[in-house]
Amino acid sequence: MKRKTLCVLLLVALFALPVFAGGSKETKSTEKVIRIAEQVPGLITPGVWDGQVFSMNSSMYEYLAEINADTGELDPVLATEWSTTDGRKWTFKLRQGVTFHDGSAFTSEDVKFTLERTQDPGLGHLKKQDFEVMQSIETPDDHTVIINLKDPRPTFIYQLTDYNMAILSSEYDYAKLGESKPMGTGPFKMSQYIPKESIAMVRNPSYWDPALPKLDKILIYFIGDIDASVSMLEADRVDVVNFLTPVIKSRLENIEGISVISPYQEQRFVAMNVDMEPWDDNRVRLAFKYAMDPQILAKSVTQMDLGKGAEYNETPIMNMLAEYKALPLRGRDLEKSRALLAEAGYPDGVEVELYYASDHPFGKELAQTLKELSAPAGFDLELKGFTRDVYLSQYWLNVPTSVTGWGGRIDPSMLLSLAFKGGGAWNESHFDNERVNTLIDKITGEIDEAKRLGYYHELQEIFYEEGALLNVQVPYLVGINDRVIGYKQPLTMLPQYKYTDIK
C-alpha cells in the first residue's frame, strides 16, 4: 500500500505545480518599467564590446557627444563644447558635477584614460586604428581636455560617438570587473546582473540632468532565439525587441498594440574582389551592375519599396547622408550586360562564388536575389553561406564575391580609408585606385566643408563608373509595444532610453 500512497502523492504534487506557480502574481506598482529582449551578449566592456546589447550599454555608459536621433546633429553629453581651428588640435570642455555610479567624480583624467586605452595592445580595442592618429593628450585642468593629432581630422569628433568610445572611469578595474560589474556615468545603473541571462537597471539618482531619465527601471532579458523574443513581445512579457527580420515584421504588423519601426538603415556591401577573376575586368563588374534591378532587389530582400525603407547605389555613401550624390539608377539592361560579358571574354557566361553570412538579417535573401537577377545575363553565382562567425573569421576579405553587413556612420569618412583605400584593413574588394586613394586622403584632411563635399561627389562618380561595390541599404527593425513613447535610436545604433517614457 505504501507504494500506492507514494504514487498518489507524486501525481498530486505534479498537478499542484501550476497551482503553486499561479500563486505568484506580479505586484502592480506605480514604477515606470520598460522590459526589453536582446540577443545574448558576447563581450560588453566598451573597447572590446562586440556591438550587441545596445540597450544595456547605452543606458549604463555615456559619450562626450551623441547624435540627436531627430536632427542627426551632435548633442553635447559629457563634453559641453568642443572646438578645433586646424583639425589637429581639439579642445573639449567637460561637463561639471558628473559622477560615476561608484560615486567618483568625472574629470579630464577619465577622458584621457579612455582615449589612451584604445592603444593598449593586450586589450584588442576595436577603435585602435582610428585613434592611432593621436599624438598627445593634455589635461590642463579637471574639466578641459586637449587632443593633439598627427594629421588634421576635421571630423574627428564623430569618432568619439562610436559605441566603443564610452567614457570609462580611470579608477575602475575594467579588466576585472567590466564583464561582471559594468559601471559608467549613464542615466541608469546596474542593480542585478546575471551574465548571459538578464540584467536589471535602476534610475541613476545622481544623474547630471535632473529631468532625466523618465523611467524608473529597465529590465533586459538576453534571449538567444529571435522567435522566442518575438513571442515574448506578443505575450506582453517585453516591450521592445530589436533586430527583426522582414518576415517577423509582417507577422507583428497584424497585432494590435505592437508597432514595428525602423529608426535607421544598415548597409549590405556586395563586394567584387578585383584581385580575382572575373571581377578584375571592369566590364564584368559593369555587366553585373546592368543585370541588377534595384526595385526588385529592394522588394525581394526587404519586402519594402525602393526609397521607402530600402535603398540601392553603387558607392560607399548611404543615400540618407548629406555627402550622397544622386547618380542616376542604371536600369536593368540584360542585352548590354551580356554584350559586356562577351567583350570581356565570357560569351558563354561566367561562374563565380558568392560568400555570405546566412544567419545575419537579409544575408540569405540578398544572396539569393543577386543570383536570380544576374542569371539571365550569364552569371552563375555559386552561393556559399556560413554562420556569421565562421564567415568573418574564415572567408571574409579573401573570396571572389561577398555580402557583408556594415553599420552606417554619420561621418562616412570613418569607413573610407579602412574599407575602400588601397591596403585598407577591411578592403573587401581589394579595390586600389590611385584617384580614389588621393580623394580619400583629401576627404580625411580637408577642413573646408564645401571642398570636402566636392571630393565626396568625385569619389562617388568613380565608384559609379568602375567601382567594385553594390551598396544595398536595408532597414534596421524594432518591434515596440505602443505603451512605449519616445523611443530614440540614431545611426550610432545606441538607443537613448533616457528620453523614453511609458504611457
Binding site: A21, G124, E179, R237
Partner: protein, 322 residues
C-alpha cells in the same frame, strides 16, 4: 551486499577512466572547431598582429598539451577557470545556477514521463491487440517520430497561443526565482515527455507482453488467481526490469536533449548556456558544459547498472560464480 559494493567500486573505476578519456576528446574536438576566440573578440577589424597579441595575452599560444593539463588540473580541484571570452567572470558563477535550473527541469520531465509512459505501456501490454493497445502504440509511435522542436511548437501553439494557459516562453522574470515560476517548466517538460513516452511505453508494452505469455503467469492464471492480482504481484515486477534499463540509459540523452528544448523555450538552463558558449567560441565554458553532461551520462548509466543488478538476482549472482 558485498558483491554490490564490488560492482560499485569497479564501476567507479571505469567511470574515472571514461571521464579522463572523454575530457581529452572534448578538449581536442573543441580545439579543431572552426573559429577562434581571439578572432571573435576582435571581430571584423582584426589585423593578424592584433589577433596574435590577444592570443598571447590569453595564453592561447601555449602548446596544446600544456593547455589541456592546465585545464584538467583546474577541473580536478573544482576550479573550472574563468571564461576565456568574458574576462573576470568565473565559470563557476554562471554554470551552477544554470545546472540547477536544468536539474529541476529534468526532474519535472522525469516525474511526468516515467509514471505516464510506464502506466500506458503496462496497459497496452495487458490489453494486447485490443483497441486500447492500438491507441497507445499509435500515440507512442507518433510522438517518438516528432522531434522536440516540433512537439514544442505544437504545445506552444495550443497551450500558449490558443488557450493562453501557459507562458509561451520559459523565461524567469527578472528579480524572481525558478521556484516561484514553476509553471514555466510544464511545456518544456511535456515536449521532452513526448519523445520519451514512445520509447518507454513501447519497451514496457513488449516486456509486459512477454511476461504475460510466460509459463508462470499462465500457471498462476490457470490455478484460478484473480487476473489483477497476477498482473500486480507476478507480472509487473519482472516486466519493469528492462524498462528501468531504458530509462537509465536515456537520462544522459535527456540532458543532451535539453539543449534543443531550452533553446526553443528560452529556458535559462545548461543547454541554452552551452549554445551561447559555442556561438562565442568560449572554449572553457563549452568544455565545462560538455564534461558535465558526460558526468551525468556516466553516473546515470552506472546507477542503472547497479540498480539493475540489485533488482535482478541473476545479474547480481553472476559476479560471484566466476
Amino acid at each position: 551486499m558485498n558483491r554490490t559494493l564490488t560492482i560499485i567500486v569497479k564501476r567507479l573505476g571505469s567511470l574515472l577512466v571514461t571521464l579522463a578519456v572523454m575530457s581529452f576528446i572534448i578538449f581536442m574536438l573543441v580545439e579543431i572547431m572552426p573559429g577562434d576566440v581571439a578572432q571573435m573578440i576582435l571581430g571584423q577589424s582584426a589585423t593578424p598582429e592584433a589577433v596574435s597579441a590577444l592570443r598571447e595575452a590569453r595564453g592561447l599560444n601555449d602548446p596544446v598539451l600544456q593547455r589541456y593539463f592546465r585545464w584538467v588540473g583546474g577541473v580536478v580541484t573544482g576550479d573550472l577557470g574563468d571564461s576565456i571570452y568574458m574576462q573576470g567572470v568565473s565559470i563557476n558563477s554562471i554554470l551552477w545556477r544554470r545546472v540547477g535550473h536544468s536539474m529541476v527541469l529534468a526532474l519535472t520531465a522525469f516525474l511526468i514521463f516515467v509514471p505516464t509512459s510506464m502506466f500506458f505501456g503496462v496497459l497496452a501490454g495487458v490489453k494486447e491487440n485490443k483497441t486500447t493497445d492500438s491507441i497507445v502504440s499509435f500515440f507512442g509511435l507518433a510522438t517518438m517520430a516528432l522531434p522536440e522542436f516540433v512537439s514544442g511548437v505544437f504545445l506552444i501553439t495550443i497551450f500558449g497561443v490558443q488557450l493562453k494557459w501557459l507562458p509561451i516562453v520559459s523565461v524567469i522574470p527578472i528579480g524572481e526565482s525558478l521556484l516561484s515560476n514553476l509553471e514555466i517548466l510544464i511545456m518544456p517538460a511535456l515536449s521532452v515527455t513526448f519523445v520519451m513516452f514512445g520509447y518507454i511505453s513501447r519497451m514496457q508494452r513488449s516486456s509486459m507482453i512477454q511476461v504475460m505469455h510466460s509459463d508462470y503467469v499462465r500457471a498462476a492464471v490457470l490455478k484460478g488467481m484473480p487476473r489483477k492480482y497476477v498482473i500486480y504481484r507476478h507480472a509487473l515486477k519482472n516486466a519493469l526490469l528492462p524498462t528501468i534499463t531504458i530509462i537509465g540509459m536515456n537520462m544522459g540523452w535527456l540532458f543532451g536533449g535539453l539543449v534543443v528544448v531550452e533553446t526553443l523555450f528560452g529556458f535559462p538552463g545548461m543547454g541554452s548556456l552551452l549554445m551561447t558558449a559555442i556561438k562565442t567560441r568560449d572554449v572553457p565554458l563549452i568544455e565545462a558544459c560538455v564534461l558535465l553532461i558526460t558526468v551525468i551520462f556516466s553516473l546515470s548509466t552506472m546507477f542503472t547498472d547497479i540498480l539493475y543488478s540489485y533488482l535482478n538476482p541473476r545479474v547480481r549472482l553472476q559476479g560471484g560464480q566466476k
